[in-house]
Amino acid sequence: MSKQAQQALQIAGKTYQSRLIIGSGKYKDFQENLKALEMSGAEIITVAIRRVNLGQNSDEPSLLEVISPDKYTILPNTAGCYSADEAVRTCRMARELLDGHKLVKLEVLGDQKTLYPNVTETLAAAETLVKDGFDVMVYTSDDPLIAKRLEEIGCVAVMPLGAPIGSGLGIRNPHNIRLILENAAVPIIVDAGVGTASDASIAMELGCDGVLMNTAIAEAKDPVMMASAMKKAVESGREAFLAGRMPRRLYASASSPVDGTFF
Protein backbone atom coordinates (compact mmCIF):
# COMPACT_ATOMS: atom_id res chain seq x y z
CA MET A 1 0.00 0.00 0.00
CA SER A 2 1.35 3.43 -0.85
CA LYS A 3 2.24 5.81 1.95
CA GLN A 4 -0.56 8.09 0.79
CA ALA A 5 -3.13 5.28 0.90
CA GLN A 6 -2.02 4.25 4.34
CA GLN A 7 -2.52 7.78 5.57
CA ALA A 8 -5.91 8.47 4.00
CA LEU A 9 -9.31 7.71 5.54
CA GLN A 10 -12.09 6.49 3.25
CA ILE A 11 -15.69 7.05 4.30
CA ALA A 12 -18.65 6.52 1.94
CA GLY A 13 -16.49 6.76 -1.14
CA LYS A 14 -14.73 9.99 -0.12
CA THR A 15 -11.10 10.27 0.91
CA TYR A 16 -9.95 12.35 3.86
CA GLN A 17 -6.34 13.09 4.77
CA SER A 18 -7.24 13.82 8.38
CA ARG A 19 -8.33 11.05 10.75
CA LEU A 20 -9.57 13.57 13.30
CA ILE A 21 -13.22 14.63 13.33
CA ILE A 22 -14.25 17.43 15.66
CA GLY A 23 -17.47 18.96 16.91
CA SER A 24 -18.90 22.47 16.98
CA GLY A 25 -20.48 22.39 20.43
CA LYS A 26 -19.55 24.23 23.64
CA TYR A 27 -17.25 26.80 22.03
CA LYS A 28 -17.09 30.39 23.30
CA ASP A 29 -18.05 31.64 19.82
CA PHE A 30 -17.93 30.69 16.14
CA GLN A 31 -14.50 32.29 15.67
CA GLU A 32 -12.89 30.14 18.34
CA ASN A 33 -14.54 27.08 16.79
CA LEU A 34 -13.20 28.03 13.36
CA LYS A 35 -9.66 28.59 14.66
CA ALA A 36 -9.73 25.25 16.48
CA LEU A 37 -11.04 23.56 13.36
CA GLU A 38 -8.23 25.02 11.26
CA MET A 39 -5.55 24.04 13.80
CA SER A 40 -6.95 20.54 14.14
CA GLY A 41 -6.65 19.84 10.43
CA ALA A 42 -10.04 18.15 10.61
CA GLU A 43 -12.05 18.02 7.40
CA ILE A 44 -15.28 16.77 8.96
CA ILE A 45 -17.16 18.66 11.66
CA THR A 46 -20.37 17.68 13.44
CA VAL A 47 -23.35 20.01 13.88
CA ALA A 48 -26.66 19.68 15.71
CA ILE A 49 -30.15 20.29 14.30
CA ARG A 50 -32.43 22.51 16.39
CA ARG A 51 -35.41 24.85 16.09
CA VAL A 52 -34.68 28.33 14.78
CA ASN A 53 -35.34 31.12 17.27
CA LEU A 54 -38.26 33.07 15.87
CA GLY A 55 -37.57 36.77 16.11
CA GLN A 56 -33.81 36.16 16.10
CA ASN A 57 -31.73 38.93 14.59
CA SER A 58 -31.15 37.77 11.03
CA ASP A 59 -28.07 40.01 10.66
CA GLU A 60 -26.02 37.74 12.90
CA PRO A 61 -24.21 35.03 10.96
CA SER A 62 -25.28 31.45 11.41
CA LEU A 63 -22.86 28.59 12.08
CA LEU A 64 -22.76 27.41 8.46
CA GLU A 65 -21.96 30.91 7.27
CA VAL A 66 -18.78 30.79 9.38
CA ILE A 67 -17.96 27.10 8.92
CA SER A 68 -18.87 26.56 5.31
CA PRO A 69 -20.20 23.34 3.78
CA ASP A 70 -18.19 24.33 0.70
CA LYS A 71 -14.93 23.99 2.62
CA TYR A 72 -15.74 21.31 5.21
CA THR A 73 -17.75 18.12 5.29
CA ILE A 74 -20.62 18.88 7.63
CA LEU A 75 -21.74 15.90 9.70
CA PRO A 76 -25.18 16.53 11.19
CA ASN A 77 -25.78 14.56 14.37
CA THR A 78 -28.93 13.28 16.04
CA ALA A 79 -27.91 14.49 19.50
CA GLY A 80 -30.85 14.80 21.88
CA CYS A 81 -32.77 12.00 20.19
CA TYR A 82 -34.03 9.25 22.47
CA SER A 83 -35.94 7.26 19.90
CA ALA A 84 -35.33 5.88 16.42
CA ASP A 85 -38.22 8.00 15.12
CA GLU A 86 -36.68 11.25 16.44
CA ALA A 87 -33.29 10.33 14.97
CA VAL A 88 -34.75 9.50 11.56
CA ARG A 89 -36.75 12.75 11.48
CA THR A 90 -33.61 14.69 12.44
CA CYS A 91 -31.52 13.11 9.68
CA ARG A 92 -34.22 13.87 7.09
CA MET A 93 -34.36 17.51 8.18
CA ALA A 94 -30.55 17.69 8.07
CA ARG A 95 -30.46 16.24 4.56
CA GLU A 96 -33.02 18.81 3.43
CA LEU A 97 -31.19 21.81 4.87
CA LEU A 98 -27.87 20.60 3.46
CA ASP A 99 -29.27 20.21 -0.07
CA GLY A 100 -29.33 16.43 -0.19
CA HIS A 101 -26.08 15.80 1.70
CA LYS A 102 -26.53 12.27 3.01
CA LEU A 103 -23.67 11.71 5.44
CA VAL A 104 -25.01 11.71 9.00
CA LYS A 105 -23.91 10.84 12.51
CA LEU A 106 -26.55 8.66 14.13
CA GLU A 107 -26.78 8.69 17.89
CA VAL A 108 -29.78 7.55 19.90
CA LEU A 109 -29.38 8.11 23.59
CA GLY A 110 -30.87 6.04 26.38
CA ASP A 111 -30.21 8.00 29.51
CA GLN A 112 -29.74 11.69 30.31
CA LYS A 113 -27.18 11.22 33.06
CA THR A 114 -24.76 8.97 31.19
CA LEU A 115 -25.83 9.80 27.59
CA TYR A 116 -25.23 6.11 26.97
CA PRO A 117 -26.43 4.93 23.57
CA ASN A 118 -29.70 3.03 23.38
CA VAL A 119 -28.44 0.31 21.07
CA THR A 120 -31.82 -1.26 20.26
CA GLU A 121 -33.20 2.08 19.06
CA THR A 122 -29.89 2.75 17.30
CA LEU A 123 -30.17 -0.51 15.36
CA ALA A 124 -33.76 0.33 14.35
CA ALA A 125 -32.82 3.86 13.25
CA ALA A 126 -29.81 2.60 11.32
CA GLU A 127 -31.95 0.16 9.34
CA THR A 128 -34.45 2.85 8.37
CA LEU A 129 -31.79 5.41 7.50
CA VAL A 130 -29.67 3.06 5.40
CA LYS A 131 -32.80 2.01 3.45
CA ASP A 132 -33.59 5.71 2.95
CA GLY A 133 -30.20 6.23 1.27
CA PHE A 134 -28.23 7.84 4.09
CA ASP A 135 -24.54 7.21 4.67
CA VAL A 136 -24.66 6.48 8.37
CA MET A 137 -21.75 6.92 10.75
CA VAL A 138 -23.14 5.38 13.90
CA TYR A 139 -22.29 6.15 17.52
CA THR A 140 -22.62 3.05 19.65
CA SER A 141 -21.42 1.20 22.73
CA ASP A 142 -18.21 -0.88 22.69
CA ASP A 143 -20.21 -4.11 22.36
CA PRO A 144 -18.53 -6.05 19.53
CA LEU A 145 -21.78 -7.83 18.54
CA ILE A 146 -23.71 -4.59 18.18
CA ALA A 147 -20.82 -3.01 16.27
CA LYS A 148 -20.80 -5.88 13.77
CA ARG A 149 -24.60 -5.81 13.45
CA LEU A 150 -24.51 -2.08 12.64
CA GLU A 151 -21.91 -2.76 9.97
CA GLU A 152 -24.07 -5.56 8.51
CA ILE A 153 -27.06 -3.21 8.40
CA GLY A 154 -24.98 -1.03 6.08
CA CYS A 155 -23.53 1.76 8.20
CA VAL A 156 -20.49 3.33 6.52
CA ALA A 157 -18.58 3.71 9.78
CA VAL A 158 -19.04 2.37 13.27
CA MET A 159 -18.12 4.66 16.16
CA PRO A 160 -17.79 2.99 19.55
CA LEU A 161 -17.48 5.21 22.61
CA GLY A 162 -14.25 5.37 24.57
CA ALA A 163 -16.13 6.66 27.63
CA PRO A 164 -19.36 8.65 28.15
CA ILE A 165 -19.89 11.79 26.07
CA GLY A 166 -18.13 14.78 27.61
CA SER A 167 -16.57 12.72 30.42
CA GLY A 168 -12.96 13.01 29.28
CA LEU A 169 -12.24 9.61 30.84
CA GLY A 170 -10.33 8.30 27.83
CA ILE A 171 -10.44 4.82 26.31
CA ARG A 172 -11.99 2.84 29.18
CA ASN A 173 -12.08 -0.53 27.44
CA PRO A 174 -9.31 -0.89 24.85
CA HIS A 175 -9.86 -4.65 24.78
CA ASN A 176 -13.39 -4.28 23.41
CA ILE A 177 -12.23 -1.68 20.90
CA ARG A 178 -9.63 -4.18 19.73
CA LEU A 179 -12.29 -6.91 19.37
CA ILE A 180 -14.40 -4.54 17.30
CA LEU A 181 -11.39 -3.71 15.10
CA GLU A 182 -10.62 -7.40 14.53
CA ASN A 183 -14.08 -8.03 13.11
CA ALA A 184 -14.59 -4.80 11.20
CA ALA A 185 -14.76 -4.25 7.45
CA VAL A 186 -15.74 -0.57 7.78
CA PRO A 187 -13.84 2.28 9.44
CA ILE A 188 -13.95 2.19 13.24
CA ILE A 189 -13.80 5.65 14.74
CA VAL A 190 -13.70 6.15 18.51
CA ASP A 191 -16.36 8.72 19.33
CA ALA A 192 -16.86 10.13 22.86
CA GLY A 193 -14.80 10.17 25.98
CA VAL A 194 -11.48 11.48 24.69
CA GLY A 195 -10.08 13.96 27.23
CA THR A 196 -6.54 14.77 26.20
CA ALA A 197 -3.98 14.04 23.51
CA SER A 198 -2.78 10.68 24.84
CA ASP A 199 -6.36 9.33 24.74
CA ALA A 200 -6.50 10.05 21.02
CA SER A 201 -3.10 8.46 20.46
CA ILE A 202 -4.15 5.35 22.36
CA ALA A 203 -7.21 4.97 20.13
CA MET A 204 -5.08 5.27 17.01
CA GLU A 205 -2.38 2.92 18.36
CA LEU A 206 -5.06 0.26 18.83
CA GLY A 207 -5.67 0.48 15.11
CA CYS A 208 -8.72 2.73 14.98
CA ASP A 209 -9.34 4.48 11.70
CA GLY A 210 -10.10 7.80 13.33
CA VAL A 211 -11.19 9.68 16.41
CA LEU A 212 -14.17 12.00 16.87
CA MET A 213 -14.11 14.49 19.72
CA ASN A 214 -15.82 17.65 20.83
CA THR A 215 -15.44 18.46 24.53
CA ALA A 216 -11.74 17.54 24.67
CA ILE A 217 -10.99 20.55 22.49
CA ALA A 218 -13.87 22.92 23.32
CA GLU A 219 -13.41 22.65 27.09
CA ALA A 220 -9.62 22.81 27.11
CA LYS A 221 -8.28 25.99 28.70
CA ASP A 222 -6.75 26.80 25.31
CA PRO A 223 -8.92 25.09 22.71
CA VAL A 224 -6.84 26.20 19.74
CA MET A 225 -3.67 24.79 21.30
CA MET A 226 -5.48 21.56 22.22
CA ALA A 227 -6.72 21.27 18.63
CA SER A 228 -3.09 21.39 17.53
CA ALA A 229 -2.16 18.76 20.12
CA MET A 230 -4.97 16.51 18.95
CA LYS A 231 -3.88 16.80 15.32
CA LYS A 232 -0.42 15.58 16.30
CA ALA A 233 -1.80 12.92 18.64
CA VAL A 234 -3.94 11.34 15.94
CA GLU A 235 -1.09 11.49 13.41
CA SER A 236 1.51 10.07 15.80
CA GLY A 237 -0.81 7.35 17.06
CA ARG A 238 -1.54 6.31 13.51
CA GLU A 239 2.13 6.29 12.58
CA ALA A 240 3.01 4.25 15.67
CA PHE A 241 0.32 1.75 14.72
CA LEU A 242 1.63 1.44 11.15
CA ALA A 243 5.23 1.22 12.39
CA GLY A 244 4.34 -1.87 14.41
CA ARG A 245 5.14 -1.48 18.10
CA MET A 246 7.74 -3.48 20.01
CA PRO A 247 6.40 -6.41 22.06
CA ARG A 248 5.56 -5.96 25.72
CA ARG A 249 7.77 -8.07 27.98
CA LEU A 250 7.32 -9.26 31.52
CA TYR A 251 11.00 -8.65 32.34
CA ALA A 252 13.80 -6.41 31.12
CA SER A 253 15.67 -6.67 27.84
CA ALA A 254 18.95 -4.69 27.93
CA SER A 255 19.47 -2.13 25.23
CA SER A 256 23.28 -2.14 25.54
CA PRO A 257 25.40 -5.29 24.84
CA VAL A 258 26.43 -7.41 27.80
CA ASP A 259 29.82 -8.46 26.32
CA GLY A 260 32.97 -6.33 26.48
CA THR A 261 32.57 -4.63 29.83
CA PHE A 262 36.04 -3.66 31.13
CA PHE A 263 35.56 -4.58 34.80
Binding site: K26, R51, S58, L63, L64, M93, E96, L97
Partner: protein, 66 residues
Protein backbone atom coordinates in the same frame (compact mmCIF):
# COMPACT_ATOMS: atom_id res chain seq x y z
CA UNK B 1 -56.03 31.51 11.44
CA UNK B 2 -53.89 29.83 14.10
CA UNK B 3 -50.87 27.71 13.38
CA UNK B 4 -48.14 26.38 15.63
CA UNK B 5 -44.56 27.23 14.75
CA UNK B 6 -41.81 25.61 16.77
CA UNK B 7 -44.17 24.89 19.61
CA UNK B 8 -45.79 28.33 19.92
CA UNK B 9 -49.09 29.55 18.54
CA UNK B 10 -49.10 32.21 15.81
CA UNK B 11 -51.80 34.19 14.01
CA UNK B 12 -51.38 33.97 10.26
CA UNK B 13 -53.48 35.38 7.38
CA UNK B 14 -55.84 32.81 5.87
CA UNK B 15 -54.49 31.51 2.58
CA UNK B 16 -50.85 32.28 3.40
CA UNK B 17 -48.28 30.08 1.77
CA UNK B 18 -45.15 28.80 3.47
CA UNK B 19 -42.80 31.04 1.49
CA UNK B 20 -44.74 34.17 2.56
CA UNK B 21 -44.58 33.01 6.17
CA UNK B 22 -40.83 32.40 6.02
CA UNK B 23 -40.31 35.82 4.42
CA UNK B 24 -42.28 37.46 7.22
CA UNK B 25 -40.11 35.66 9.79
CA UNK B 26 -36.90 36.72 7.99
CA UNK B 27 -36.04 33.05 7.44
CA UNK B 28 -36.24 33.00 3.65
CA UNK B 29 -32.52 33.22 3.01
CA UNK B 30 -31.26 30.91 5.73
CA UNK B 31 -30.24 27.27 5.56
CA UNK B 32 -33.33 25.76 7.13
CA UNK B 33 -35.55 22.72 6.88
CA UNK B 34 -39.29 22.59 7.50
CA UNK B 35 -41.65 19.89 8.70
CA UNK B 36 -45.41 20.40 8.28
CA UNK B 37 -47.58 18.16 10.40
CA UNK B 38 -44.71 15.69 10.75
CA UNK B 39 -43.76 15.55 7.07
CA UNK B 40 -40.68 17.16 5.54
CA UNK B 41 -41.46 19.94 3.06
CA UNK B 42 -39.15 20.17 0.09
CA UNK B 43 -37.78 23.73 -0.37
CA UNK B 44 -38.93 23.90 -3.98
CA UNK B 45 -42.57 23.59 -2.88
CA UNK B 46 -42.51 26.40 -0.29
CA UNK B 47 -44.40 28.93 -2.48
CA UNK B 48 -47.12 26.43 -3.43
CA UNK B 49 -47.76 25.15 0.06
CA UNK B 50 -50.92 26.78 1.44
CA UNK B 51 -51.19 26.75 5.22
CA UNK B 52 -54.36 25.70 7.03
CA UNK B 53 -55.80 26.44 10.44
CA UNK B 54 -54.28 24.13 13.06
CA UNK B 55 -51.14 23.33 11.06
CA UNK B 56 -48.02 22.42 13.02
CA UNK B 57 -44.71 23.69 11.61
CA UNK B 58 -41.20 22.84 12.75
CA UNK B 59 -38.43 25.02 11.33
CA UNK B 60 -34.86 23.94 12.09
CA UNK B 61 -31.28 25.02 11.42
CA UNK B 62 -27.78 23.70 12.03
CA UNK B 63 -26.14 24.86 15.26
CA UNK B 64 -23.05 23.91 17.21
CA UNK B 65 -23.02 20.35 18.54
CA UNK B 66 -20.75 17.36 19.13
Amino acid sequence: MHIAINGTQHEVDTGSNLQDLLNSLALAKGRIAVELNGEIVSRSTFPQLILNNGDNLEIVQAIGGG
